[in-house]
Amino acid sequence: MTSPAPSAMRPDSAERRQRWRTHFEESILPPLVALAIAAVVGDILILIFGEAPGEVYRLLLEGTWGNAYGFGQVIYKATTLTFTGLAVAVGIRAGLFNIGAESQLAAGGFLAAVIGLAMPAGTPGIIAIVVCLLAAAAGGGAVGAIPGVLKARFGASEVIVTIMLNFIVLALLNYVVAAHIHVAETLHTPEMRVGAMPRLADMSSVFAGSAANTTFLFALAAAAIVWWYLFRTRAGYELRAVGLQPDAAEYGGVRVGSVWAKTMIVSGALAGLGGVNYVLGYKHYYEEGFAAGSGFLGIAVALVGRNHPVGVVIASLLFATLSQGALAVNALVPKQMVDVLTAVVIIAVATAVPEVRRALAASRRSAGTGSRGQGTGQVEGTISNPGPSSQFPVPGSQLSSGSPS
């Protein structure tokens, strides 16, 4: 039992199970810790305001998942957040921080609304919707392309460029709408005649009166496609390789710059598609400020969802619940409490990730030296172990099962 050999030759399945457990712990623990911290902060804020936390949380749940309208609104808000969350997640997988989801979302919605407006009234619905979807993706993708190309070409920080572009694009859209195509006395474009997405409420009473619409199904499909792209295609593999170690990827024959540019375009297009939810599914026009922070919330969604499409969908439901629930409890406590909680969750996850990883690594190291024969599978720090050791995070091992960066 003192020799490392037996564990090194242990069947693959045990090692794989261990690796899965590691990934599970690494992915699930930080968000759970963060939510616990947020709950405590929420309690404190509620108590400061002189209300009972239990009552507020009960109202919050009742106003969201407890009735048809609230549930539908959660689905509606989760739709946009899924798109922006996916946008941010795809970027982070490639090592890029897309903070521009806010303006990409707006640009996507704007282009969809304008193209929808330009199409003749007789256009078949299906064609109109497809064209508008393409327009939304193109609008967001175009805005995403700028930081992507600047990063690839000049090494310009995509963080700064996307932040600055948010201001530029929103000001530009503001100008175009205000100066050229708004309906008098409002800040929105005229209503489109074609291309409306059917409301879910028209199909089932489960969504009574809410803004939830079929875009939600597109969001789920987008999550599935992103998963397939990231984990089942060569391009996705390259993308993640660049995210983990750009120099190594370059050495391995990946053209890092072109992956960066491509990823930012995909990321922007995903965010842009989020605009469809509002424009095609809800109001049928572009209105200034419709994004209302959904782009920034996408960062929280991606982070809590650990940059995994499934996690993103779950996290978007969570933040949609918070955002809709805030309205339900506004009579008791200011709805801004949710903004505070969102920020707390982000900070806590960001802080917990390195901590949890380090704690897990430490516990595994001690487990590895103490009970080697107990089937821990992976042995760290032993030279004779040919398998990937988690003491040195080998990109390959993380690539195969998609651990968040």
């Binding site: 600047l150 700064i160 960001a350």
Partner: protein, 291 residues
């Protein structure tokens, strides 16, 4: 002409404060995405302090304390716990928006603005432009930027700050307590940015929701456009402020849509990053955590 210069100066003051903080933080290796949040926190705390004490000076101290508190939280997450600076930075800005709104409702039962608070200068004297010359914060803003330049280039602390931002490993190996230096730099940057916010609140004699309106990011733009050098950053701040002043003065003429003038700082920053007018090279260890 003199009115134009004074107005430019008035607009430039918050940029100077915040950008001074931004330089300190970024030169120490901590990304200054948080300036906006620190400013907003400072503005709110300054209004709060001034309201309850009746003295704008107490407001300034309260504002700085608020900015310091926010900065310490940022430092705790990014330096002590090595969390990603960009992620936490974005969250700090969200937090500032949320917290100020929450406590605005708690303290003043309003979702938009505080009541009128004692401040500096302003409408009593009639000539607003001239009154700002008697606003101590205007002068402090100019001094702060000069102070940061002196600190960075003429003191041991400044040397350590620059080492922490350029080559933290090398600094560590010769015994510079890199983490502590970064804590100090972030704390100072929080207080500087908070002064920018305090200036806004005390100049307008009230706090309004989201009153910083992206000025923290303009300051960050100035830091980048000025290549992290106090002298150039000062020029960038004045340049951005002059453009704004011009826009306000020419508004009636409708020569250029105001939205295009708004874009100037951001567009220039992107151009600077792309290296069209000499590459902007950031501190080498910017954004990198240290063990």
């Amino acid at each position: 002409m003199i009115a134009f210069l004074i107005q430019t100066l008035r607009i430039a003051v918050p940029y100077l404060f915040a950008a001074a903080g931004g330089i300190l933080s970024e030169r120490a290796g901590i990304i200054a995405l948080t300036l906006e949040g620190f400013m907003l926190t400072g503005a709110f705390c300054a209004a709060l302090g001034s309201y309850y004490s009746g003295s704008p000076w107490v407001g300034i101290v309260a504002g700085m304390a608020g900015g310091l508190l926010a900065a310490l939280l940022h430092a705790l997450a990014t330096i002590r716990y090595r969390a990603d600076q960009v992620v936490v930075g974005i969250a700090m800005n969200l937090l500032a928006v949320g917290v100020t709104r929450f406590f605005l409702r708690l303290a003043f039962d309003s979702s938009s603005n505080s009541p009128r608070v004692p401040g500096f200068g302003g409408s009593e004297t009639g000539n607003a432009a001239f009154a700002s010359l008697f606003n101590p914060l205007v002068w402090l803003g100019i001094l702060t930027m000069a102070g940061v330049a002196w600190l960075l280039y003429r003191t041991p602390f400044g040397l350590r700050v620059r080492a922490a931002g350029e080559k933290p490993e090398a600094a560590l190996s010769v015994g510079v307590p890199v983490k502590r230096v970064r804590w100090w730099a972030v704390a100072l940057s929080g207080m500087c940015a908070a002064l920018a916010g305090s200036y806004l609140a005390l100049d307008q004699h009230q706090f309004t929701d989201g009153m910083t309106a992206g000025r923290g990011f303009i300051a960050l733009a100035a830091v980048i456009f000025g290549k992290w050098d106090p002298k150039r950053v000062t020029i960038a701040c004045l340049l951005f402020a002059a453009a704004e002043t011009m826009q306000i003065r020419l508004q009636a003429l409708q020569l250029v849509p105001s939205q295009f003038v708004e874009m100037i700082p951001y567009a220039l920053t992107i151009v600077a990053l792309a290296g069209v007018v000499g590459r902007a090279a950031q501190p080498a260890a910017l954004g990198k955590a240290v063990d």
